[in-house]
């Protein structure tokens, strides 16, 4: 008989307490993160410092030294630097990245010597962009110098090379200045 009433009391008391607990949960802040559109700040801002998203190039900074191309173990980077008229050093003719191949190893970025003076951002860097899905396989090939521009630049560079070759030939075929006029060396 005592168990009978104790059972009733236990039921009432436990349901009472259980409902108090669930109600208290209703007043707490949900832990759900409403990814990806209802966030306090955009997702790229919340990513950690060393996050490697898509590989990207700052064409202004690039010196076309091709160190990245050499560093890459799987030929993700296809680029060419040539000399053009009126510019010191090499000019970037084209710079293509095959994102489909990239394994995000960071070797190219480590090799990159060009760096922005203020932000210390290298010319080749990983974006905080993580949505790398493409609908076509060609979406995974990124050309940092547009094709038309690259063609024009290539023509300019080849013209300049021909011109220089011609100049060199002329310089070679031109009579050499007399060696005796040279200042005395260590000879």
């Amino acid at each position: 008989m005592i168990t009978y009433f104790k059972n009733i009391w236990d039921t009432a008391a436990t349901v009472f307490e259980g409902m108090a607990i669930t109600l208290s949960y209703m007043f707490q802040k949900p832990i759900t993160v409403q990814y990806p559109d209802r966030l306090k700040e955009p997702v790229p801002h919340t990513l950690p410092a060393g996050y490697r998203g898509r590989l990207a190039l700052d064409a202004e900074l690039c010196t076309a030294c091709a160190l990245c191309q050499k560093a890459c173990p799987i030929d993700v980077i296809d680029m060419k630097g040539m000399r053009t008229e009126g510019k010191k050093g090499l000019t970037l003719i084209y710079f293509n990245i095959y994102h489909g191949k990239c394994m995000y190893c960071n070797l190219c970025v480590e090799a990159c010597p060009a760096e922005d003076e203020e932000s210390h951002q290298t010319a080749l860097y990983f974006k905080k962009d993580f949505e790398g899905v493409g609908l076509k396989s060609s979406d995974l090939i990124e050309q940092f110098i547009p094709q038309e521009q690259a063609k024009a630049l290539f023509k300019e560079a080849t013209d300049f090379a021909e011109k220089r070759a011609k100049e060199k030939k002329q310089a070679e075929s031109a009579p050499k200045p007399d060696s005796s006029l040279k200042p005395e060396g260590g000879a």
Binding site: I8, V15, F16, A20, Y25, Q28, K29, P30, T32
Partner: protein, 385 residues
Amino acid sequence: MNQLAYMIILAVIYLGVIVVTAGVLTVVERRIAGRMQSRIGPNRVGPQGAVQWIADALKALQKEDIIPDQVHPFLFKIAPYLVFMGVFLTLVPIPFGAYAFMEDLDVGIYYVLATASFVVIGFMIGGWASNNKWSLLGGMRSAAQMISYEIPTALAIVVIILMAGSLNLNKIVQAQGALPHEWYIFRNPFAFIAFFIFFISALAEGNRVPFDIPEAESELVSGYNTEYSGIRFLLFFLAEWANLVVIGALVTVLFFGGGNLGFEYLVQLPLPGRDPMKIEILGFLWFCFKTSIFVFIIIWLRWTLPRVRIDQLMDICWKYMVPIGFFIVMGTVLWVYFVPDNSQVDFITRIVMTAISTWILIYFVYRVYRNLKITKAKIHLNPFL
């Protein structure tokens, strides 16, 4: 003819209102469930997920209406309608305000008990006609459960009938007042117990957690409605959620004074704007408020309690609810006989019962506050996320 047109229009209005209410309740339930589980719930379709239920309904409507080969076609088709009809018909005599009811039936509460039985028939037919062992088990369980729990429901209602001296729901509401100590639940200790018995057995009859074994998803592959798809499946759910409103409304009417604002007194008082129409609307809102509180409690219980086993279910009914039900009926008979209305003992009992209930409520709020404090979580009251 005129009468018929009037009735059809009224029925269509009721149908529209109850379907929309049931639909909105699905979203409300999911939002509440989300917050109780530290989630958010559906909040994408429309402002704060407000039209999620339309999206769900449209999705179900687009599905193919599959009628499997081996089922009994006629019974299989008719079962969802029987279930929905059983729930829908119970709305007829419920007074939503002093004059807002479909029909002032003198057998009101008796009629509600009778029509609610259609639901059992619907579940049984649905389970049997499906020609599927799980469905049949679900249907059988549901029949056993609902027929068992009709007894404590009826006994708790008998308590109210004894106190009101009428089966008419309107008269039951009018016999109660606007203030808590005039409600039937606080009239005497037996009615207080009767409320809990009625509420628990109404949950069991409505197949709500913790008594949802007819459609126990994790055991029975959703029971009697396993073979249903599309709009027929939806009708079962529509009936379930409409039943929430019916349970809430019945509890309000029987134990908590319905939409009674003390209409007769209010009209006579020299208040500004004592328009009977305004008071009627206020009474309707008051009724809706009370009903929604009980609907919330039912939803809240669902996300608190685990499902009971079939033997526990039968134990609760036959070993606890039925004996206690008979006890409170006897107690009420004696109380009504020996303690006349508006006597000193009656008045003191009402006040004491109200005070005890208020104390329980305050203690409950304290327990919630303490639980919040223990977890040291941030309080977040804004429901819009």
